[in-house]
Amino acid sequence: MADTMQFDLVSPERSLASLQATAVQLPGADGDLTAMPNHAPTITTLRPGIVRVESPEGNAEFAVTGGFAEVTANGTSVLAERALPVSEVTQDVLDGFVSDAAAASENATAENLDELAKRTVDIAAMASELGLSVKG
């Protein structure tokens, strides 16, 4: 059994990571999941949260604000709307996420109101995980 798989993290503007990983923990829309080599092929949407990558060279963490992940037996690709290494997530960046989510909620329609509310909550959860807090 292969003990590593290809992991790619791309955002629309650039490719953030492309490496061999042993396990990738993804913040799936329906709950976290961990992809390891030889995982069943899966496509899942992501909620705002943290992608944790374990690789022989060490671990890495990335904050994503949504998007989707494609898991196959020999690789995992995360296509994130916005993504950046956790170390670059500062209070300012987080405030940016929050205000974007708030702006989206303002023109929410009846159907996606729940979804957008969940988004805001997910961002708050991500914030507390990172030791930051969401203002007001």
Partner: protein, 292 residues
């Protein structure tokens, strides 16, 4: 005969024009490299996104498909999204897009459809306003934006989707220049709503993988389609950005060369006139001396 002073002034002014065009060419070259890098960096995302979305769309066709995919069932009202540059002096870049959009708009109007135009970039708006002032619905100003980001594309996409959901139009098409090389940019049209996908080239292999979908196939499709629109617009903006700089670079290269030719011609004329003036003066002196 133009006098010497005029010629001298003229040469000076062409020289400073040449300096300006030369500088613009170099600036465009530097920006082109950055724009090209941005376009390349965005490509993996767009390719994968379209592959996955294309696969999803193909497998979940039918009546239950979201409207963004299946359309409203009518094609009466067309939305043309015309993407041009914010600045001129880039050769035929803007006019080639506008020409294409105009042809399309005229064709649609002739066949009895309603046409609405949304422009991105000032130049296209200025040119289209002359003929289609009544059809313009909105304008997106990117003149303050230095580097086009995904946010800009998302803003345009959200606006488009909202209008679509409000029933303002049935079909949306984007017009932009695809970057081929510095000397060739291809005006391109692409229908974004309802979504259309190129048949995946390596599709045979893709289809054989059966994916688990979480939450559900329809759920994912509904979330991804709006992002798909944004991704397509983002790709178009990036291609457009690279094309604009490429077009400007070659236009300014030509301008610099033309200015050089003109300086040579003017210099020859200047020297000839100067010689004529000197000869004249000599003749005057000699004939004056002879008269004594």
């Amino acid at each position: 005969m133009p006098n010497l002073k005029d010629l001298k002034n003229r040469i000076e002014s062409v020289k400073s024009t040449r300096k300006i065009t030369k500088a613009m060419q170099m600036v465009a070259a530097a920006k082109l490299r950055r724009a090209q890098e941005a376009a390349e960096a965005g490509r993996p995302y767009a390719e994968r996104f379209n592959a996955v979305l294309g696969g999803l769309a193909a497998s979940s066709g039918g009546d239950s498909a979201p409207k963004l995919l299946s359309g409203t069932g009518s094609d009466q009202v067309h939305m043309l999204v015309v993407m041009t540059a914010e600045r001129g002096l880039c050769g035929g870049f803007n006019s080639s897009i506008v020409k294409m959009a105009r042809a399309k708009a005229e064709e649609l109007i002739a066949s009895g459809k309603t046409v609405k135009i949304l422009t991105v970039g000032k130049k296209g708006r200025e040119q289209l306003k002359r003929d289609f002032a009544d059809n313009m619905v909105d304008h997106v100003d990117l003149s303050e934006v230095r580097n086009v980001g995904y946010d800009n594309a998302q803003g345009i996409a959200n606006d488009l989707i909202n209008r679509f959901n409000n029933g303002e139009y049935d079909v949306a098409t984007i017009f932009y220049n695809k970057f081929e090389s510095v000397i060739s940019q291809i005006p391109t049209t692409q229908q974004v709503i309802p979504a259309s996908f190129d048949a995946p080239a390596e599709g045979a292999e893709e289809v054989s993988t059966v994916y688990d979908y979480e939450p559900s196939e329809e759920g994912i499709l509904a979330t991804l389609l709006p992002s798909g629109v944004a991704t397509q617009i983002f790709t178009a903006l990036l291609e457009n950005g690279a094309s604009e700089q490429g077009a400007r670079m070659s236009a300014m290269d030509n301008a610099t060369r033309n200015a050089g030719d003109m300086i040579d011609k003017l210099t020859i004329e200047f020297n000839r006139s100067r010689q004529a003036v000197i000869t004249n003066e000599l003749i005057e002196i000699i004939s004056g001396a002879e008269a004594l």
